[in-house]
């Protein structure tokens, strides 16, 4: 065909042939146009409107998949109008889409840890794979696995079955500990330097996480910290009995081993200034946390014996003995207060009060922390607030006022209201643990308002190239929150340094919130596994030693298997979600009228799952079946809004003419059609594709084996419609696509076996081959070469068949060689 049609494509002159579609011309010129209903191997459908482009002179945007080019056409493929139209098309497709891309546990995890992935790897005994899956989003797993309040568990759907979640945190800890125990904390990849430098101030979880992800992208990282050890509040705030320092240290070291330069004992504002960093580095990330104890604002606050919560814990965590006296009052109801109270007990106090303005129900501290403090005989005084600290040169008394609960405040909690009634606590010290704030003294004025740092949603501060994340950005939060911030800030910095503007990744998730216990009645109940409980007095007898020893391996395998593998199996490959992410289409833009549409069904057969709630009616499957498989098992059944893809006459797939070639599953752009084998795997984040030939019939179809790199096992087999080396051009049958699970079957032969007295016993290769050699050469030498015979196999390779006949003829001296190939 002559390329005589001249087109101006995004301002560039290119030539195409007559009748060529805009889409094809774009593809030839390396311009990717998003498509959902188009497939180059099928006839046109033109229904999804995703491929819209702007053509000069045309009133409306045109479909690139359907519109042929003509001479002089001027095409723009990415204008604001085009972007908006595609975004709208996607939002409309999402408007009646029912499913959840990622499971609720993962969405509840601030770091979006691949819970389903690492829990199930753990349940399969694939601990290393689990660790690698963890590292995708969660650094410091052994440490986080000890101290995380586990918001994921709160949202875990296992609660609907057992009223208890999967032990996500404990499993994480087990895996982290497995790494530390085996000394194999994970592969440190070879890093391709990209020549850019980033300074990070603050080596807490936020700074460490950012350093880790930026380093993996190829940045040279210098990590500054005012302390002489890294870990931030995990190191200097959280006491050792909850998080032993060696555990944290090993995990921190592993991150640093990625080739991160550390500058310890360097305080921003004192030893180095922001201006200097901005000058020396391409970008600066501030992650120095909230290290100022907030004052109580009561008289007597400056008496000796009044301590800030984190200051007290800082001393304890530095191994310094703090003399708190015999009786201590801790003010506050958060985790810092709990840690301070329990550390006070461990520092020699015999009586520790926790004074809190509201009741137990309103306490922000973790339930477990409160329970454990109570078990250790900390006395809780609820509905009380400090009004003054009194004493002669040092603390002697704390005067408190009784409170009552009034109207709810902005946070929804009922506001404590003073009653005017006072009481006195005789104490030797007062620890104020009512909150922390950031120290902004090292930053210029335009970067903060004294309480909050000024950042946008992409972590960018008003100073170009300067970013902030972690507690500094959010205010005091939890460690995994800081890890998340570090990760997304790293992405934003990368975007800034590569594309010129900061940008945090857009997350496109269809979510289901309509599920409840009644949707899981078919699940068998199985209670959660718990670590052995250690009583309070035993804990106090070994004050700073860790007392939670975690789950055993058996418990991890059992508990992990409780996971129901929620979320969409197609999440990594779904084109709808991929474009939704690219075009930042919020799935919730248009409300979903109803959650389940009764005429759309989820239908499982032995090979694949049809979840018609996720079908976008693109018709690819229908065309694949009639044009590639040549079966026409399915078609559009109703029209308009009710459109449904199904076999004719309301039959099920198993009763239709479908022969389970899986080609429609392969080409379906969404998770509406998925191979059963992929259910419950939340990968392929790391997949290796190996092209090989089908082991079944003589057609010799080329197959793409998809290997999960983390476990080294096959997770799916597909075909490649564009392969240049195949004879089947994407086609295949049920055996090629679905006939591979025997490979990993448990009853594979794994050892040579020798039969003795009618029973097999295992043997070494040397022994087994030695015996075969002895017998066969024996027969040859005593009864003649033709007393032995060989059957080869049509299932073995050419090379193997060649060698066996050579062995028979050359070594044994017989032509008794045949194969069972008459079939």
């Amino acid at each position: 065909m002559d390329r005589d049609v001249k087109v101006i494509l995004n301002g560039k002159e290119v030539f195409g042939y007559r009748g060529q579609k805009i889409l094809e011309l774009c593809a030839e010129n390396g311009i990717e146009i998003p498509t959902l209903c188009y497939d180059p191997h099928l006839t046109l459908h033109g229904g999804c409107s995703l491929c819209l482009v702007e053509v000069k002179g045309a009133k409306n945007l045109v479909r690139a998949c359907a519109m042929p080019i003509n001479n002089g056409m001027e095409i723009q493929t990415m204008t604001d109008r085009v972007f908006g139209a595609r975004q709208l098309a996607l939002q409309l497709l999402f408007s009646d889409h029912v499913g959840d891309c990622r499971p609720p546990c993962q969405l509840a995890c601030p770091a979006r840890g691949d819970v389903k992935g690492y829990v199930n790897y753990a349940a399969e005994g694939e601990f290393r794979a689990s660790l690698e899956a963890l590292h995708e989003n969660i650094t410091l797993p052994a440490s986080i696995g000890r101290i995380c309040p586990a918001p994921c568990e709160e949202k875990c759907r296992r609660n609907f079955v057992d009223e208890e979640p999967v032990s996500i945190r404990e499993i994480k800890r087990f895996i982290g500990d497995w790494g530390i125990k085996t000394g194999d904390l994970g592969t440190i990849p070879e890093i391709k330097e990209n020549g850019k430098k980033v300074a990070i101030v603050g080596g807490g979880p936020g700074g460490l996480s950012a350093a880790y992800y930026l380093r993996r992208m190829g940045y040279a990282i210098t990590l500054f910290d005012k302390e002489s050890a890294l870990g931030g509040m995990m190191r200097f705030g959280i006491p050792d009995y909850r998080l032993p320092q060696p555990v944290l240290q090993k995990e921190v070291d592993w991150i640093i081993d990625h080739g991160i330069e550390t500058r310890l004992g360097m305080t921003l504002g004192k030893d180095v200034t922001l201006d200097e960093l901005r000058k020396d580095y391409d970008s600066v990330l501030l992650a120095f946390g909230c290290w100022k104890s907030l004052p109580m604002r009561v008289p007597g606050e400056d008496l000796k014996g009044v301590l800030g919560g984190i200051n007290f814990l800082y001393e304890v965590n530095n191994g310094r003995k703090v003399d708190v006296g015999d009786k201590v009052a801790v003010i506050g109801g958060g985790n810092t207060a709990m840690d301070a109270a329990r550390c006070a007990l461990r520092s020699g106090a015999h009586k520790v009060y926790v004074v809190y303005r509201r009741t137990r129900d309103e306490m922000p501290a973790e339930k477990l922390e409160i329970d454990e403090a109570m078990e250790e005989d900390v006395e809780f005084i609820f509905l009380a607030a400090p009004v003054a600290v009194e004493g002669d040169g040092k603390v002697e008394r704390l005067i408190c006022e009784k409170m009552e609960l009034g109207e709810p405040d902005a946070s929804g909690r009922r506001r404590p209201v003073p009653t005017g009634e006072q009481f006195t606590l005789e104490v030797d010290s007062v620890i104020a643990a009512i909150g922390q704030g950031a120290d902004f003294s090292a930053l210029p004025k335009e970067m903060h308002d004294g309480r909050r740092i000024a950042t946008d949603k992409h972590f960018a501060t008003p100073l170009e190239g300067v970013f902030a994340c972690g507690d500094l950005n959010t205010g005091p939060d939890i460690a995994v929150g800081a890890i998340a911030e570090g990760h997304w800030a790293a992405e934003s910095i990368n975007h800034f340094l590569m594309e010129g503007v900061p940008h945090r990744p857009f997350e496109c998730d269809v979510v289901r919130v309509d599920l409840g216990p009644e949707d899981f009645l078919d699940q068998e109940k199985q209670p959660q596994e718990h670590p052995v409980h250690c009583p309070g007095n035993v804990r106090l007898a070994r004050p700073f030693e860790e007392y939670n020893l975690g789950l055993t391996e058996e418990q991890v395998l059992r508990d992990g298997s409780r996971c129901m593998k929620c979320g969409c199996p197609d999440v990594h490959e779904c084109k709808l979600r991929r474009y939704g992410t690219e075009y930042e289409a919020d799935p919730e833009t248009f409300s979903k009228e109803e959650y389940s549409r009764p005429h759309r069904t989820v239908e499982a057969n032995k090979y694949y799952l049809r979840d018609m709630d996720k079908c976008i009616a693109c018709g690819i499957c229908v065309r694949t079946c009639s044009q590639q498989a040549i079966y026409s098992a399915i078609d559009f059944q109703r029209r308009g809004m009710d459109t449904l893809i199904a076999p004719a006459m309301d039959r099920s797939i198993e009763d239709s003419t479908c022969v389970f070639c899986g080609q429609c599953v392969e080409l379906c752009p969404t998770g509406a059609l998925t191979e059963n084998s992929v259910h419950g795997i939340s990968r392929p984040s790391k997949t290796r594709v190996v092209k090989t030939i089908c082991p079944y019939c003589g057609v010799g179809c080329e197959l793409d084996i998809h290997v999960d790199e983390l476990t080294g096992k096959i997770w799916n087999v597909k075909t490649d419609y564009d392969s240049t080396t195949s004879m089947n051009a994407g086609r295949c049958c049920v055996k090629g696509r679905f006939g591979w699970s025997f490979v990993h079957s448990d009853d594979r032969l794994k050892k040579p076996l020798i039969k003795e007295k009618g029973a097999f016993r295992e043997a070494s290769w040397d022994e087994a081959l030695g015996l075969v050699a002895e017998k066969f050469t024996g027969f040859r030498d005593s009864s003649g070469p033709d007393s032995v015979a060989f059957f080869s196999s049509a299932r073995c390779t050419n090379e193997e068949n060649y060698l066996l006949q050579r062995f028979a003829r050359e070594v044994m001296g017989t032509n008794n060689i045949d194969h069972c190939a008459h079939l």
């Binding site: 070639c661 290997v707 003829r809 190939a821």
Partner: protein
């Protein structure tokens, strides 16, 4: 296959005989259907069962099982009688036309119609359509070869193609569809008692063969005739064969007359089985060697259109299991041989020196895509279509055969005809597919019964049905379908616990020694 897959797209007519293509060679089936649907190819389907492809057939020829040679002779009779044969082609390329003509003259439409049960008009239409082409291709499989006279069938198919000059052009050809992934390769590699790799016939070319073996293996070629599988089984029973080494096969399930095979294997003094699973056959072994499976090794397969293709290692083998090639190399060394192969690629290097058809095949080239043999040297592009420039020995020969009544035919005591075969969902003896989702889909043996017969016997869908031949008996689930004709049942053979091959006779085609699985007289009862 004489022609490649691409050639299918050029066929004006495709004659499919004894091949349930859409079940046994599904992707080729899809091409044939696509061609027919698009109106590019007319389909003639000859099969005793009303197979799926029949739904697309322009001409449906439901001839009786075992009557293939009569049918083909009948077609040739009509073609010659109506002068539709390619005289020019025959003059130039084929010998013994007169012999053929004389023999098929006997096979008048009336006579053939009586033998095959196919109406005379259908025979004529089919003959004309095929002969007129312009390009007609024949496809067949074991439906044709698994008969006592399978070799005759195959030669007769070739006669038909020669008669009409349907060879050597895209869209034509004689295309046997190979059942297993690498049957072609196993034959190419000389795993045949009578020939060395590359079909070098030991008896006919003894000196040449011996010289090659001396040169490449530095060894002496044994010249005593080798035993075929069937004769090995007999030899075991008689104590003449003492040691048997089976690589990757499960004859306990796949071979005819399972009971006979079991007796023979049990008699072996020393049986070695190399496999990926503890198969029915491996149970009987003295030594079992664990092999890597297809996904765990490198190598090549040769498919049914002679395309050599690379298989690649994707995952590690479990436990101590090793690739078959490694095992053989080590065994050879243990027997004192001085072999120096370190990879399948090393072996291919030797193959390319030994087998002229593979002379130009290297792994590097295969990475660019399949190569169809003959591919004699490194610059040769491979040969998609054979005989484009004539025949290797100058001229081909017609080899006409008479139709013979099959060895066993339904009678009063065994009134049904049972044919064995495979289904889309399972493969061979099931040791692989019965560990995949297909195990759930088709769990156990089923027997296809025609609705008429089902009614007469009182069988309902799903009932247990017993099928008994003179040799044995199996029980399966009833499937009522008009895919089988009345008085005929179909029994798939993938199920070791109910092996269809207990029904089959130890009767073989005399030339190829292919077992006759296709025809068995049986009785059918409610179990």
């Amino acid at each position: 296959m004489t022609n490649d897959y691409e050639s299918i797209k050029h066929a004006d007519v495709a004659l499919v005989i004894g091949s349930n293509t859409t079940e046994n060679h599904p992707v080729i089936g899809s091409w044939l259907k696509e061609q027919q649907k698009k109106g590019r190819t007319k389909l003639i389907v000859c099969d005793p069962r009303s197979i799926e492809l029949n739904d697309y057939a322009d001409i449906k020829v439901r001839h009786r099982s075992g009557s293939d040679v009569a049918l083909l002779n009948g077609l040739m009779n009509i073609i010659i009688a109506e002068g539709l044969h390619d005289k020019e082609f025959i003059d130039k390329n084929v010998e013994k036309f007169d012999e053929l003509k004389a023999l098929v003259a006997e096979y008048t439409p009336a006579k053939v119609s009586a033998i095959t049960g196919v109406p005379e008009d259908t025979l004529k239409e089919a003959a004309r359509l095929y002969a007129r082409g312009p390009n007609s291709a024949i496809f067949y499989t074991m439906g044709i070869t698994q008969h006592q006279y399978g070799t005759n069938n195959v030669k007769t198919v070739a006669d038909l193609a020669l008669l009409c000059g349907m060879l050597g052009r895209p869209g034509t050809g004689v295309n046997p569809l190979r059942g297993q992934n690498n049957v072609q390769g196993a034959c190419d590699m000389g795993c045949l008692p009578a020939s060395l790799p590359g079909y070098l016939d030991i008896a006919k070319n003894t000196e040449k063969a011996a010289e090659k073996v001396r040169q490449i293996w530095k060894a002496e070629l044994p010249t005593s005739p080798g035993r075929t599988i069937v004769k090995v089984t007999d030899g075991l029973a008689k104590g003449e064969v003492k040691g048997l080494f089976i690589m990757g096969e499960n004859p306990m399930v796949s071979d005819p007359n399972t009971n006979h095979v079991k007796d023979a294997l049990e008699k072996a003094e020393f049986l070695v089985v190399q496999d990926i699973f503890m198969t029915e056959t491996a149970q009987l072994a003295d030594v079992v060697l664990p092999a890597a499976c297809w996904a765990e090794k490198d190598g090549t397969f040769t498919n049914t259109c002679r395309a050599v293709q690379r298989i690649r290692k994707a995952v590690e083998a479990p436990g101590d299991a090793r690739s078959d090639w490694e095992i053989i190399v080590d065994l050879a060394k243990a027997c004192g041989a001085d072999w120096d192969f370190h990879s399948p690629e090393d072996v291919m290097e030797e193959i390319s020196r030994f087998v002229p058809q593979y002379g130009g095949i290297t792994y590097d080239r295969l990475d660019q895509g399949p190569l169809m043999w003959p591919c004699p040297d490194k610059d040769h592009p491979g040969t998609p279509n054979l005989y484009t420039t004539g025949f290797p020995r100058g001229k081909a020969t017609f080899v006409p055969y008479e139709w013979n009544q099959p060895h066993e035919w339904p009678d009063a005591e065994y009134p049904f005809l049972a044919t064995t075969g495979r289904t889309l969902y399972h493969y061979h003896t099931g040791s692989m597919t019965r560990r995949t989702p297909s195990a759930e889909y088709i769990k156990s043996l089923y027997v296809e019964v025609n609705p008429e017969d089902a009614a007469a016997i009182g069988l309902k869908e799903g009932d247990d049905v017993r099928v008994t031949s003179r040799r044995g008996s199996v029980v399966g689930e009833t499937r009522i379908t008009d895919r089988v004709s009345p008085r005929m049942v179909f029994v798939p053979f993938h199920f070791g616990e109910q092996p269809a091959n207990v029904l089959t006779a130890s009767v073989w085609d005399d030339t190829s020694e292919t077992p006759a699985y296709k025809i068995n007289a049986v009785k059918v009862e409610k179990a």
